[in-house]
Symmetry: C2
Subunit: 289 residues, 2 copies
């Protein structure tokens, strides 16, 4: 962080402008803002397709290194209110790269087997192998978000989890995983509009969950629970970003840029051949067709 590298279209690069230490508290955050970005929707959309190609090249580089024994990986953690667009990020940002290089995991309500283990058990099992970009659609932070809001376990228990999460993420980073944590924020007005659209269109009914309205009743409690993870689980090694998500194009562009920044930070080069290139060229030249 802190390196002022110029990113096209951005006055302040997203890894700075969107960091929770810069955006200020979530309760006062404008989900329709575009912090750091100097363009409009058209230029943002055009930029995303251009930057998508950059992301795809970097992802191939990461994958190539993984195949050659490099254990490093990138983990994108997506959290956000219902309808914030986590699935859209998987589809439209994940969709920019070779699907072979992605490890996508969603974390819903824990299964009985998952509940019989500690809360990080299912997370460990879902981590991306070396060379991959992992995307978590929800994550271990669920265990201090709905779990805290609804007191699904005693406060004395969930209170301990922040430090357990920090320890877990420190270990992950130490073993070569670059972590990017994004909290996608929609306004109440936009959420209402998206819920209404899901009901209007029969091809979107499957995305509608009546429980989302019940959860909306806990809006302020969620803001408080989110603020707690930013206050207690943000670090330079495992930073949290606030992604304003009323404008889908901006959320996608931001997260694409955060991934590019993370991958560039690995300073990757094409892996060196572990065979004698000249000798192999001769072998191939001698092949009969």
């Amino acid at each position: 962080m802190g390196k002022h590298t110029k990113t096209a279209g951005w006055g302040t690069p997203p890894e700075e402008a969107l960091r929770v230490t810069v955006t200020g508290p979530i309760a006062a955050f404008d989900p329709s803002s575009t912090p750091g970005f100097t363009g409009d929707k058209d230029s943002g959309t055009a930029l995303l397709s251009e930057r998508g190609a950059v992301l795809a090249d970097l992802q191939e580089l990461l994958y190539a290194n993984g195949r050659s024994g490099d254990h490093r990986s990138v983990l994108l953690v997506l959290q956000g209110m219902d309808t914030a667009g986590k699935g859209g990020i998987v589809r439209h940002v994940g969709g920019l790269v070779d699907p072979q290089g992605l490890t996508i995991r969603g974390f819903g309500k824990p299964t009985p087997e998952e509940l019989s283990h500690d809360f990080l058990w299912r997370i460990h099992r879902a981590l991306p192998p070396g060379g991959r970009i992992g995307i978590f659609d929800r994550s271990h932070y669920e265990d201090v978000l709905p779990v805290r809001v609804h007191n699904l376990i005693p406060k004395s228990e969930w209170e301990k989890r922040y430090e357990m999460i920090n320890q877990f993420e420190r270990d992950l980073v130490a073993s070569g995983t670059t972590i990017i944590k994004c909290a996608m924020v929609v306004s109440k007005a936009e959420q209402k509009a998206r819920l209404a659209e899901r009901l209007e269109r029969p091809d979107k009914h499957w995305k509608y969950n009546p429980g989302d309205i019940d959860e909306r009743g806990f809006w302020d409690d969620y803001l408080e629970a989110y603020q707690a993870i930013f206050d207690r689980c943000d670090s330079d090694a495992a930073p949290w970003f606030l992604i304003p998500s009323d404008r889908k194009w901006f959320a996608r562009l931001s997260i694409c840029e955060l991934l590019i920044h993370a991958l560039k930070g690995l300073d990757l080069d094409w892996p060196k051949a572990d065979f004698d290139v000249e000798a192999e060229k001769k072998r191939v030249a001698a092949l009969t067709e």
Copy 2:
């Protein structure tokens, strides 16, 4: 199979033209041919991008149904000589759809744990859940291809596997999986050119494996082993297709069409809401912003 539905650009639709019962033996097959297709590279490339959108829509429909409890899935099995382009299919055909709806698995040399189980153990564990398109980059057929060519186990053992595979696939189909099996075929000349290119370009060195040249020495044995799986493991319920792969655009277009055909065969509709739509509309309308 056998229904003559018109597929744009195709005189004979690929699910017929490329079926191993129609193409004739692999040893006489032309890997640079474009059976059934009436267009050229430009029209094929344009068609792929158009048909990609159709595939993406059908995949979303499958995913939506999976989320609503439908256990059906589609499994694309990719086999092929080295450099035939299996990875390119994952990237360029898999890349046409939402990566969330894909379950991609590669099968390399079995690990000691995998070897301690029967050969189908690792395959079972990798099957796509309901609502997903699974892509196998190599598969259980490895156990009757290199295993047979190199007699890694006694003939009396691998001989039994054809029927075990048939039984396994029958069970899979009965439980709701649509299976498409594609053998990608390159010519010896094209393979030589691709190997040479991997050596020329340092950004492709990681894809080069000196062992590929050794395997090339067993070309005719592989053709025989492939012909055996077509002769013994092709059925209407789990058909084998020969994909001519000297022209990458044609291989991609063909497999995209085969997936579309499989998904259309499921005759899917958007899942019905399991809640009272009108009541929910009222709840949403009453929400304060």
